[in-house]
């Protein structure tokens, strides 16, 4: 399975990750080259280098980097996953699919891979149906979108945090009712209903964490209006009115020159009413302020979309 990653007090690596998410790919690459000179086999360095390479548009080099990583660490599904994303971008559907299947082989509990495979197969099935009926699918555009590289890449980035804690966190998201695992259980008819529920839950978990990622992205891109959209209409902030809260959020989002938000260690539970309770670590950084806080969200599916109905801080982890 996943090799014990060298534990590192890796301020340098997290610096580089910030550079990557800030789009400073060349800076990140040269930083990583220095780190790799000392520690050439470090999978995190290699992985981030591949991310930076593909971010900077050096696709062939990125492919080579991922391939090297796969050769050295065949058990890391993320490398296959991201490689598949690149293949798909290049229009190599079949290669993308076989690469994803290898990722599943590498690690069965990686939900993203499973989901991507589904999307690819779904696109193939849709194409076949379209040929059978000689009608283009109405949702064809959306179907293509479903193999969304951004989502993939984002998920991949989130999944390979260097700290072992975070690696675990990925798994915790993934394992909580994995469809794949459900499928893998011995066939027990009694399990069917539970299984269906689990399926539902898993997709709920995935959707909700996706929405939170989008929420963070809206924040990062300083899009206050979109950021507010992720809160349900009846979201009421503690102690202040909704109107005042919205006002405050707009100001605080617009004010800094830049903002970075990273979510990690995401843990999801569903409560009886079908809402999701999510706890996570939020790393916030702006030109004028930074902190890491523990947060709790309650999310609810309202007219088909997961929305935040409650948000509260559970304390600072770092300030």
């Amino acid at each position: 399975m996943i090799p014990a990653l060298p534990s590192m007090a890796d301020s340098k690596l997290s610096e580089i990750e910030k550079q990557i998410s800030a789009g400073q790919y060349y800076k990140a690459i040269s930083g990583l080259d220095k780190l790799l000179a000392k520690d050439p086999h470090n999978p995190n360095y290699q992985f981030n280098r591949a991310l930076a390479l593909s971010g900077s548009g050096q696709i062939d080099k990125a492919i080579k980097q991922y391939q090297a990583l796969i050769k050295a660490y065949p058990d890391l599904p993320e490398s296959y996953n991201n490689l598949a994303v690149i293949y798909l971008q290049q229009g190599k559907k079949e290669l993308a699919r076989t690469t994803l299947e290898k990722a599943l082989q590498a690690h069965q509990g990686y939900a993203q891979v499973y989901k991507n495979l589904q999307q690819l197969n779904s696109a193939r099935a849709r194409d076949a149906y379209a040929r059978a009926l000689q009608i283009p699918a109405k949702k064809q555009a959306r179907g293509l979108q479903s193999a969304d590289k951004l989502v993939l890449q984002q998920a991949a980035v989130a999944s390979v945090r260097p700290a072992p804690v975070v690696t675990k966190s990925t798994n915790s998201v993934v394992k909580s009712g994995m469809r794949y695992q459900a499928k893998n259980q011995p066939a027990d008819r009694k399990n069917r209903d539970t299984e269906k529920q689990q399926d539902k839950q898993t997709s709920g978990y995935q959707e909700a964490s996706q929405v939170l990622n989008q929420w963070a992205r809206a924040w990062t891109s300083k899009d206050a209006e979109q950021y507010i959209q992720f809160y349900s209409k009846d979201y009421s902030p503690p102690e202040i009115s909704r109107g005042v809260w919205e006002q405050q959020r707009r100001e605080r989002i617009r004010k800094p020159r830049w903002i970075r938000v990273k979510l990690r260690n995401i843990k999801l539970h569903s409560n009886r009413s079908g809402n999701l309770i999510i706890r996570l670590e939020q790393e916030y950084a702006a030109d004028n302020y930074r902190d890491v806080t523990q947060k709790e969200f309650i999310m609810s599916k309202l007219s088909g979309e997961w929305r935040i109905v409650k948000e509260r801080g559970l304390g600072y982890l770092r300030q």
Partner: protein, 441 residues
């Protein structure tokens, strides 16, 4: 956990067997389980042995003809329905490459692919179908009907040693006879064997027939006629609108009996398929019998206009060989007796073979009898020789009593007249005897 299986619908199978099912999304995972499965469907049951026989049958067909697309499709479907998803996909991938216009194959391929992450309970029964709108659902139903027809023929038609009572002999000059069984949307090609022996089944094909079920009565009723017909000519592709495919063999509907019964309409052809389509839905024509182009081309050399019979029936009489011989013997005996009585110069004995409602051209039995009596006066001797006798039993739909069409060569010799003609005679069973209801050149 089964994926890769249609759990209901078309497969007319109740089948309990042990199967290894690959339950993983990944090809390489090969997590297998062995369990007892019941394929819930309606109707006839298929044993494991039957299943193996079917696979063998498809294999044989494909070995004989690599381009037997139906065998390939059915093989893939059978793989899929028994849980061998990988093999099913492999087969269907090959098929869709070889026959890109075979739309049903694409549908099945969609199901196999979809089954990797979702349930497909029936052919094309997948949530993705909603993306194709109302038109998509309509087309889906047509494709499903085609699948159903092909599967039904595969499962229900078990001929064994049986032979069609419709073909009681091909004589010496007919090499090939065609039998269409509308119930199964199936066209059978039979080939002549030794004299007095039943013809041999060469191949059978899926065909489309008239939009409306039932026997054709009038022009425009969109039904395919049932009867004993003969191919009259060949019209090549160049002389036809594209929708007839590689060409057409018109048949002689309405024949003598049809006209007598007041049936109308014409232009009943055996023809090919529009370019861009491998096949058409089972009930889709205006009365014609439609073959895939590849099959019509394959058949083309076996069909001789003016000669080749095409018997169209709702359902054929499948006889064991003894019964076939028995039925044939009865007719041959009748013809021989008629011939002898004719030669005997005893006009009454000769006329006893004719039915009271007999007709021939404008003749009724009365005018026919009068003419025969008149001619007999000038005869001092007559010799009649029948050869090349072909016998076809009429589909039993309009007739209360069995009718057989005999087509033969008649060589007539007498003191004042000689003739050598091809004759067509309709015989009807009345009580224990067969009587001639129609006679024509």
């Amino acid at each position: 956990m089964k994926i890769g299986i249609w759990s209901k619908g078309l497969f007319v199978i109740t089948l309990v067997l042990s199967v290894s099912v690959v339950i993983n999304a990944s090809s390489s995972q090969n997590v297998q389980e062995t369990q007892s499965k019941t394929f819930i469907t309606t109707g006839q049951s298929l044993s494991r042995q039957n299943l193996q026989n079917l696979f063998d049958q498809f294999e044989n067909r494909l070995q004989q003809n690599r381009l037997d697309h139906e065998a390939s499709l059915l093989k893939a479907m059978l793989y899929f329905n028994t849980g061998s998803e990988q093999q099913a996909l492999k087969e269907i991938d090959t098929l869709t490459q070889r026959a890109p216009d075979f739309h049903l194959a694409h549908l099945v391929r969609g199901d196999i692919l979809f089954s990797r992450y979702g349930r497909v309970s029936d052919i094309g029964e997948s949530p993705l179908m909603q993306e194709f709108g109302k038109e998509g659902i309509e087309k889906l139903h047509l494709l499903r009907a085609e699948a159903e027809a092909r599967l039904k023929a595969m499962i229900e038609i078990e001929l064994g040693n049986r032979v069609p009572g419709q073909l009681l002999g091909l004589g010496e000059s007919i090499e090939t006879a065609i039998l269409v069984e509308k119930k199964y949307n199936r066209l059978f090609v039979y080939s002549r064997t030794a004299e007095h022996e039943p013809p041999r089944l060469i191949r059978d094909y899926y065909v489309s027939t008239g939009k409306k079920r039932g026997n054709k009565q009038i022009r425009g009723d969109l039904k395919t006629p049932e009867g004993v017909y003969f191919v009259t000519s060949w019209i090549p592709d160049e002389k036809l609108p594209a929708k007839y495919g590689v060409g057409a063999f018109p048949v002689n509907y309405p024949n003598e009996l049809d006209r007598k019964l007041g049936k109308t309409g014409d232009g009943i052809w055996l023809h090919g398929t529009d370019p861009g389509y491998y096949s058409r839905p089972p009930l889709d024509s205006e009365g014609c019998v439609v073959l895939p182009n590849i099959d019509l081309s394959g058949l083309k050399n076996d069909i001789v206009p003016g000669k080749t019979p095409i018997i169209i029936t709702e359902q054929a009489d499948w006889l064991d060989r003894n019964d076939w011989h028995q039925q044939r013997k009865e007719i041959m005996y009748t013809l021989e007796k008629w011939r002898k009585d004719w030669e005997s110069m005893d006009v009454n004995r000769y006329l006893s073979h004719y039915a009271t409602d007999f007709w021939s051209g404008r003749h009724t039995l009365q005018t026919w009898a009068a003419r025969k009596r008149y001619l007999a006066r000038s005869k001092t001797y007559q010799r009649v020789r029948l050869s090349d006798i072909a016998l076809f039993t009429y589909p039993a739909r309009d007739q209360k009593q069995p009718v057989v069409v005999a087509r033969f060569r008649q060589q007539y010799q007498s003191n004042n007249y000689n003739g050598d003609i091809s004759k067509r005679v309709y015989l009807r069973k009345e009580g224990d005897d067969w009587r001639i209801m129609y006679e024509g050149g």
